[in-house]
């Protein structure tokens, strides 16, 4: 059927994906083995990898996977939860619309027409979802959920310090979802060790950034040994062997070169003309002498190690060995850039003249020696780091490459997660507050749409449009006002407000009055006034004027932003908005290091508060909010599926009871998880769902993809068919 095609298809896809993903989720999750086209066998519990390995063909599935991977790029976690949550959302939506269909659309509408009508409905829902995501979610997070947050930092005087035990809890919970059961504890201990060895007292986020960016260079995989042989070693391990090794101790200096030290006959783009054999011999002799001189010069500077990104000629290695300089060749540019980042050393430029200039680009290292791991030789370098990162390497052992890679990816993901956790997250809620002074979400949202449409509609039609709006607004007024009450602590200067409001009353009829505010003094006065939304004053006496004013202001500011986008600024108005919003700015963001206990705590809490919120909502919105709230429970349901003592209903009831009686919610499990990551996950899923819902037709084109510059004019769409 074309009717509910989009959601139905998406639900089917999500259901299949959910069954695959749900068996890898949580502490009882299991491994998935996957092969690459090259024949490599890899292991994973990482949702992102699994979804990619499936090579899905279904267009909606591919869209979901794309959404997941863009989410992963940002946070490095949550792919499995993404799918589960999406599935439950779709299921909820599907169930609701099914019911509606039975009751409402029972009359005989043509199927085609119904399809389009449904699409409009989906679009509406999708926009409502976005509104929820941008406004209500942030509000709930900030107002209710934040009181349950714990911080991973132990707050001493003014510095935030990270204590080992809380990091352990956090990491253990993270690795529960990432590595096999038997290695979980070990890997999280390893990561903890690594973390604390790398951190100096004053290091912060930049360490995570460095480790996250260069993780491939900071670990060495060794196959054939049991996992328990993995360890952290001080210094940097380069995955190369010495071309020349001369044991040295004491003051060891290193240089990095990016070109061959031996001068060549001709550089690229130049010509070398040989006129006689003697000339050839002299030039060869000169080359040799020059190489020798450079080596001698390096030695005089106490350089004992030469790191080269290119292969050096035999002559260079020979003279290096004679001078007692060790050489490591063919280093990758990533390694070199890591070394440069750690010790701040730029690469050595060969002196153009043979004069003995001072080499500035050398750095001191503690040691440099060969390291043998499973009969393969590596270079082990003890860098002295001036930056907050103290270089250490992880040696990862495992019986097979697949397992080693899994652990490597898990560790890398953990650093990504920590990097996110250490950042403050600006909630949209506050940003929105900046503009609108309030979070009366859906109401404002509708105005936004109207604002977009207005410029295109002639003056005549405005009237009618406004009538509609008034009706709609009226419906939502009640809700808005209860909502506003919660915010009465917000103080807005009365003087300003008085100036703003000239709209006295509005009867429930279809008439409306134009708002004539004094600030519209710009040349575009007329237009601006036209854009003004009618203000409805409620009959309820409990509402103070302040509240009404705020609605007004928010409308006004909205208009301003719209108009500003068109190039006409209203400076006066801007100012007033700024003044109004400045007060609510303080409680604006989620501080870094917010965590909650694992085991579906976040989901249950959010579920609870959303349901509470939904009770105050208007009908259509209530449905959406409660669908989201119920979908959230899908995750803890899976987590507690096979638990012996704690079944999901028990946990759920216990948590609800605790919340209602204002007692702290106790979690059955130890371990912490980052709130930031969860929050980002939620927004990503909602965005993805909104995207899915806006699609009304999937057109299947059975043809090779055409390149953009292809000038083929007689393109035809073969086999266009509805995808239902």
């Amino acid at each position: 059927m074309a009717a509910a095609g989009s959601v139905k298809a998406a639900l089917q896809v999500a259901e299949v994906l959910e069954t695959i993903v749900s068996c890898c989720v949580g502490p009882d999750g299991r491994q998935v083995l996957y092969t690459k086209p090259t024949g490599e066998v890899l292991l994973s519990r990482d949702g992102g990898r699994l979804l990619e390995a499936l090579h899905l063909q279904h267009p909606i599935a591919r869209m979901i996977v794309a959404c997941v991977s863009s989410h992963l790029k940002k946070t490095g976690d949550g792919a499995k939860t993404f799918i589960i949550f999406l599935y439950h959302l779709l299921r909820g939506l599907h169930a609701v619309t099914d019911k509606e269909k039975d009751s409402l659309i029972s009359e005989n509408i043509q199927t085609h027409g119904r399809h389009w009508k449904n699409c409009c409905q989906w679009k509406f829902i999708s926009q409502a979802l976005l509104t929820f995501q941008t406004q209500i979610l942030d509000y709930i997070m900030d107002q209710y959920l934040s009181r349950h947050f714990l911080s991973i930092f132990s707050l001493s005087a003014k510095e935030r310090t990270l204590c080992r035990s809380s990091l352990e809890l956090l990491l253990e919970a993270y690795f529960c979802g990432r590595v096999g059961r038997n290695n979980r504890k070990f890997i999280s201990q390893l990561m903890c060790d690594y973390f604390f060895k790398c951190m100096s007292c004053k290091s912060g986020v930049e360490v995570f950034e460095l480790v996250d960016d260069c993780f491939a260079e900071l670990n060495v995989g060794v196959t054939g040994l049991p996992v328990s042989d993995s360890r952290v070693i001080a210094g940097l391990v380069l995955q190369r062997d010495f071309s020349v090794y001369c044991p040295a101790d004491g003051d060891i200096r290193i240089v990095i070169v990016t070109e061959t030290i031996q001068p060549l006959f001709s550089a690229s783009g130049s010509e070398f003309i040989l006129n006689s054999e003697a000339q050839f011999q002299t030039s060869q002799f000169w080359i040799m002498e020059r190489t020798k001189a450079i080596m001698k010069h390096l030695l005089s500077q106490n350089v004992k190690l030469l790191l080269s990104t290119v292969k050096q000629p035999d002559l260079v290695t020979y003279y290096a060995e004679l001078s007692g300089i060790s050489v490591v060749e063919c280093l990758s540019s990533e390694v070199v850039s890591l070394i440069q980042r750690i010790i701040g050393l730029s690469s050595f430029v060969l002196p153009q003249s043979s004069s003995q200039c001072e080499i500035s680009n050398t750095a001191l290292v503690k040691f440099c020696k060969p390291l043998i791991l499973r009969s393969k030789r590596y270079v082990h370098l003890g860098l002295i780091s001036p930056c907050p990162f103290i270089p250490h390497c992880i040696v990862l052992c495992g019986p097979v490459q697949g397992l080693v890679e899994q652990h490597e990816n898990a560790l890398h993901g953990a650093f990504k997660m920590l990097r996110q956790l250490f950042k403050d997250l600006n909630l949209n809620y506050l940003a929105q507050a900046n503009d609108q002074n309030d979070t009366s979400g859906p109401l404002i949202y509708k105005n936004t749409r109207e604002g977009n449409q207005l410029p295109e509609i002639g003056n005549g039609s405005i009237q009618r449009l406004y009538q509609d709006t008034v009706v709609k607004n009226k419906d939502e007024l009640e809700k808005t006002q209860t909502y506003l009450k919660a915010y009465s602590n917000l103080i807005v200067s009365n003087v300003e407000l008085e100036a703003c409001i000239l709209t006295p009353e509005l009867t429930p009829t279809d008439t409306f009055q134009r708002n004539e505010t004094p600030m519209c003094l710009s040349p575009e006065k007329n237009r601006v006034i036209d854009y003004y939304e009618p203000i409805i004053e409620s009959n309820s006496t409990t509402n103070s004027t302040t509240e009404n004013t705020r609605i007004e202001i928010s409308y006004g500011s909205l208009q301003v932003t719209k108009i500003a986008g068109k190039g006409s600024m209203l400076p006066v108005r801007d100012k007033s908005v700024d003044m109004c919003t400045s007060q609510s700015y303080c409680s604006s963001s989620m501080p870094a290091g917010c965590v909650l206990p694992v085991g579906g705590n976040f989901e249950i809490l959010l579920h609870y508060y959303l349901l509470n919120y939904a009770k105050k909502c208007q009908q259509s919105e209530q449905t959406i909010v409660s669908i989201i709230a119920n979908a959230l429970l899908g995750i803890p349901k899976i987590l507690y599926k096979s638990k012996k003592g704690n079944s999901f209903p028990q946990i759920y009831l216990r948590a609800l009871h605790a919340l209602q009686s204002n007692q702290p919610v106790v979690s059955g499990q130890t371990g912490l998880e980052s709130v930031t990551v969860k929050y980002q996950l939620l927004t990503s899923v909602l965005q993805c769902l909104a995207k899915i819902l806006t699609i009304d037709l999937v057109i299947n084109i059975k043809r090779q993809p055409v390149k953009v510059y292809d000038q083929d004019s007689e393109d035809e769409l073969y086999n266009t068919e509805n995808f239902c």
Partner: protein, 570 residues
Amino acid sequence: MSRLEAKKSSLCKSEPLTSERVRATLCVLKGIVTSCYGPSGRLKQLHNGLGGYVCTTSQSSALLGNLSVTHPILKILTTSIQNHVSCFSDCGLFTAILCCNLIENIQRIGLTPTTVIKLNKQILSLCTNYLKSQACGCRISVDFSSTQILLCLVRSILTSKPACMLTRKEVDHISALILKAFLLTIPENSEDHIILGKSIIVPLKGQRVIDSTVLPGILIEISEVQLMKILPIKKSSALRVALFHVSLSGDLSDTGEGTVVVSYGVSLEHAILDQLLNLGRQLVSDHVDLVLCQKVIHPSLKQFLSRHHVIAIDRVGVTLMEPLTKVTGTHPIGSLGSISPSSYGSVKNLCSAKFGSKHFFHLIPHETTICSLLLCNRSDTAWDELKLTCQTALHVLQLTIKEPWVLLGGGCTETHLAAYIRHKTHNEPESILKDNGCTQMELQLIAEAFCSALESLAGSLEHDGGEILTDMKYGHFWSIQADSLSVVNWPDLLSQCGCGLYSSQEELSWSFLRSTHHPFAPQTCLPHEAVGSASSLTVDCLTAKLSGLQVAVETANLILDLSYVIEDKN
């Protein structure tokens, strides 16, 4: 032209271990490895239908390296074993069989993977702790003052590889050679940090095994014609050696990315040859007696050198470069210009030698840790097998130096360990379970599966239909021919246990390995005198076996934990 093709979807299968096909293939693999195990193991002939020679073997490295497995689960299993073998050389079949047994036994129980993995891990740590502890009843410390245990170790390795086709006498000869070669690689004046040298295995196929020998220093194979050309040098003092790693062929070396324009009439080859001859003059004036080059030496230079009684040997190859540097004490020369005198090295003597049909130059060093093991065997495939075995033995000896213990072989460690686990889980289940949320019943089930995996591993040493027994005192392995069980006093027919430590003289009671019997505490703490009396023991390397045990359990856990297999069909 590039062709754009849509990627095919992958194939996703849930619960792979329950599939009949996977079970069948695992069973086949198990059959292959089990039948190869031990001294009486059956040989496998591997040949490729598309060509290549036939390989007869019973070693895991050769076997698994040549087998091509397609199912991802088998791939994980075989690569895991291959990785273990490349680290430790030994105990590949042990690991493979144990892993297969564990998967098979545990699958039969049908507990959830969470419980299985938790308990498997507990039992594994019980085993490793026991094997590392002083109380271990199947571990012997190696006494380096005598060669007895080391010789036993090498001999055990040789006898467990029947595809080498060695007689008893040959086994004795080769094991002595291997031990000698190993001892030659140990530096004499050892400081606190020992760097072992290297034994280079030189192939000599088609000769009798008894002709194999060990020589200190390096053998470089040369053709007979070359040998004729070189005049015998009579020199009492040491010989001066120059070792080049740069090519002396007279090629123009790298000239850079730009263009080089050569005027008409200018011959660069001539110029370079001039340079080479100058180099030759310098070598002669520096009294160099022997010039070795990794790559090619220009014939004119060769001729020039031989005219001045300097021996020139080229095309030595990169593998010999490091040992040559060590033996001669040179710096490999990378320049055609002036050579610093510090780059030269020396050897004590140089002689030519003929082994079989091959001619060699033998560099006799002053004192180094490099030796050459000339290995002979009758056929190509038997030689390959013998070479692999020798490498294994040399590696195992190195590992034993690091961890100076050996485990009892011949199945005794496995049965003893099984008895120990049974006893422990029966008597002190609380200490094993701690508080991991598993019940005693689950522990008993898993422990039984683990023990029977170990016991059937020991049982696969017997390929001739014999019965396996275990004694109720030490928990050792005894085997008896099937038909002799009908004899009334069959215990008299048992002479020795699998490792050869105990004989049936003692008053022992036996029970069949596969039958159920009451758990008993096997005697721990091996008395030292017991080892001294036994002349010939079968022993295994502790390091390799311990790691094999860990890898087997880890791999089994990994495979049991799989919930999906996704195969990319592109």
